[in-house]
């Protein structure tokens, strides 16, 4: 039970760190009308009880944005 809790917390922390990094990169690309594409090819993930094989792609569209002026 304790081990499951620890791995769940580690996974949560990893997710947060990944999201922060993606957010920082998206921030950099904002205003440049860019997109980031993640393509997966036979990607095998194994997190304890959770196992998955990913194929395909995810596209993050960074829409144009600029700071509001007074």
């Amino acid at each position: 039970m304790e081990k499951k809790e620890r791995s769940s917390k580690a996974l949560e922390k990893t997710g947060h760190e990944m999201a922060d990094t993606v957010l920082a990169v998206m921030d950099k690309l904002a205003g440049k009308e860019s997109d980031i594409k993640l393509s997966f090819e036979d990607l095998t993930l194994d997190v304890g009880a959770f196992k998955a094989k990913l194929n395909g792609s995810v596209v993050l569209d960074i829409v144009y944005s600029k700071e509001a002026t007074a």
């Binding site: 580690a10 922390k13 990944m18 920082a24 990169v25 690309l29 997966f40 090819e41 990607l43």
Partner: protein, 131 residues
């Protein structure tokens, strides 16, 4: 546990390609506890690293501090990888630039990095990537 180590333990095999505006920027390949990160777009890697460290490098002093913080962070990550039996390599233009983790065999670079878990394979390309 750091993000890199957690991902290293999660990724068993396969390939992920990150592209920006239809231009391949980074390719990650995983196999048998080894992860190779190929930098395809130098500018994307530089911008991602600066965005991830979330610091503006104004002036020489802050650049030195930023480099010291990055090295300290890399050292912790590399030692964690080594303890987990994982190896992460960073490649650029077909050459291995840095090896971190259990398969790192540093020579003189351990004096600079202060750890045996980081091997600098190509200092010239490392500078070029701005790591």
């Amino acid at each position: 546990m750091s993000l890199v180590t957690a991902l290293g333990e999660m990724l068993k095999s396969g390939k992920v390609t990150i592209s920006v505006n239809n231009i391949d920027a980074v390719e990650v390949k995983a196999e048998n506890k080894k992860i190779n990160i190929s930098a395809l777009d130098k500018n994307f890697v530089k911008e991602t690293l600066s965005a991830a460290s979330n610091k503006k490098s104004n002036g020489i002093l802050s650049q030195v501090n930023s480099a010291r913080n990055n090295l300290s962070m890399l050292k912790d990550v590399a030692e964690e990888l080594s303890d987990s039996g994982l190896t992460v390599t960073l490649s650029y233009k077909g050459d291995v630039v840095v090896t971190m983790g259990s398969e790192a065999k540093p020579k003189l670079s351990s004096i600079l990095t202060g750890t045996k878990a980081i091997e600098i394979n190509s200092p010239r390309k490392l500078v070029e990537l701005g790591v």
